[in-house]
Subunit: 334 residues, 2 copies
């Protein structure tokens, strides 16, 4: 299996993308294609004592910055690492593409270059979030901020397949993100979506709330990309604030520093339970190929895990399962 | 100053509402009117060794449950503690009303009973959230899930006045919650709102993201009630999950338990920095009277602080300031 990685995408690329690729190349049965500026990547690879022979480079002269306007950048920078990597995917030279770069650009270029799966109207970003009981998949977190109810039905179908085939859940529970649990709550858009989700051939448990995102009681939570993006970034913001305040408080006195040192294992445990880097990347579900969106702040571990997610998504033939499920959801003409 | 408290509202009412009222009666220069079932409240008050003489009871035979349909319950249960308390507010017998009960019912009954401030089209719930640098006011978190751009302009004006007069900020920074910081991001609704906010006579700093909610860099963040509700509940959910995992991890071994005991002050500090109970209640801005929404899970401390917020809101004449600011925002006919 060959997986292309946008070597230039991310806050600390290409150093961390190359480091993540080297780790993945050692641990996973994949060939990794680093896409980006040859003379930026090559010296970094040479820095490793034993360069894994399952890493190759495909040169791309340009790269898209984190704050460039996605649509314009994708159109103009034809030779960007994102465009070149997705071209490899389109031509079947790789089986998956990963970028920790400009999310909007990765979404737009994926859709334009490889197109959508048969029957799918819009792609959605499915992120795996840690929860008290277990992880939850939240879809969509920003690919589609003005969806129609049908898009959310398709997100439910695709998110359910991801939960089932890639994460290995039996009969995943699917909920609709709303402002209350009772039926009839929410905007007209939400009510219409609720009706449609009830027709789905999956375990729809009804409305859920923001409270349910980190309870881990629901396997898949469906929402529009605006609400999903707000929820995700709010959670990141709070986690950062708690971490910072805790660190500040724990280093304030000799006693608290001593306590923190003794309780080190506990902090390690919570860090690893909540660490997004453990979960790697978020697949852009619905595009005709495996395209993984990684966090812009991804370190080497997150990049390695994004490659693992790509590998699992290809290995379990998620797209084939999704095509079948989407097809089965379309009412037969009378 | 007289403040009415819905004694029957909240997950653990009337025990905690009465306990909170007793604390507030001792600490604040206010008279508290407990509204609810006389024979449920009276014995609880008698349980206190010295009953403060600035607490009185107004009987209300009914109460609205946390999961009742708000509009129907407000209409049918005319003698509920929420309706009776708001009637006192309307008649000027009290200067503020507080409920930790059914939020939808408190919003609907407040709007129906006391009406809106001149010029205001819809009320919004303004919640004060803790942040790394300082607290942030998020408005609206659920009163109005399908707002128009004008409603968000008015939330900005009212939230800014709350930040300025009640929280004491000079020249508060106001941001619009969006999926990216660049101008031109977001849905058509958001873009139209952005244009309108630029006409406001306040310090509008443009788009902000979920990331900014807990950074504490922005004084007031404006959003529709759907996104605000999702953000708030997601944050509560994550805080709960982190607290639970931390507790579990810290009690796992002798060493971690010892460490946690030594670092006790640090945990105390973070708990108090992030504790919503310290912040009390969220004013429903825009209604013609002071109406405070408290968290359903409010304990005595949160109730006491909701009474403090009500007292501050009345004392600083927030409504007078808001009426002037809203009036000044309406373009003069040519």
């Amino acid at each position: 299996m060959k997986i292309a990685l946008d070597a230039m995408g991310g806050d600390t690329a290409p150093e961390t993308t190359v480091a993540g690729a080297v780790r993945a190349a050692r641990e996973l049965p994949v060939e990794i294609v680093l896409v980006g500026q040859q003379d930026a990547i090559e010296p970094l690879l040479k820095g490793y004592p034993s360069r894994p022979d399952n890493i190759t480079i495909v040169h791309a002269a340009e790269s898209i910055g984190m704050h460039e306007s996605p649509a314009a950048a994708v159109r103009k920078k034809r030779d960007s690492s994102i465009n070149v990597g997705l071209e490899l995917l389109k031509q079947g030279q790789v089986q998956a593409f990963i970028s920790a770069g400009n999310t909007g650009a990765a979404v737009a270029a994926s859709t334009l270059t490889v197109g959508l799966l048969p029957g799918v109207e819009r792609p959605g970003i499915a992120i795996q979030l840690p929860g008290l009981k277990d992880d939850t998949v939240l879809i969509d977190v920003g690919a589609n901020i003005t969806p129609k109810p049908l898009h959310l039905l398709q997100y439910a179908i695709m998110g359910e397949a991801y939960s089932r085939y890639v994460l290995g859940r039996a009969n995943p529970k699917v909920g609709l993100l709303n402002v209350g649990e009772e039926e009839g709550k929410g905007t007209d858009f939400i009510k219409e979506t609720y009706e449609l989700l009830q027709t789905g051939k999956f375990n729809f448990i009804g409305n859920v709330e923001g409270h349910d995102i980190f309870s881990g009681e629901v396997d898949v939570i469906v929402c529009d990309g605006f609400a999903g993006n707000v929820a995700l970034k709010t959670a990141e913001s709070l986690a950062h604030a708690i971490g910072t305040i805790l660190k500040r408080s724990l280093t304030r006195s000799f006693m608290t520093r001593l306590g923190a040192a003794l309780a080190r294992d506990a902090f390690q445990e919570i860090r690893s339970e909540l660490d997004y880097a453990e979960r790697g990347g978020a697949p852009l579900l619905g595009v005709n190929g495996v395209s993984i969106i990684a966090h812009g702040a991804s370190g080497a571990k997150a990049i390695k895990n994004a490659i693992r997610v790509a590998h699992e998504t290809v290995r379990t033939e998620l797209n084939r399962h999704m095509i079948e499920a989407v097809k089965a959801s379309i009412p037969k003409p009378a």
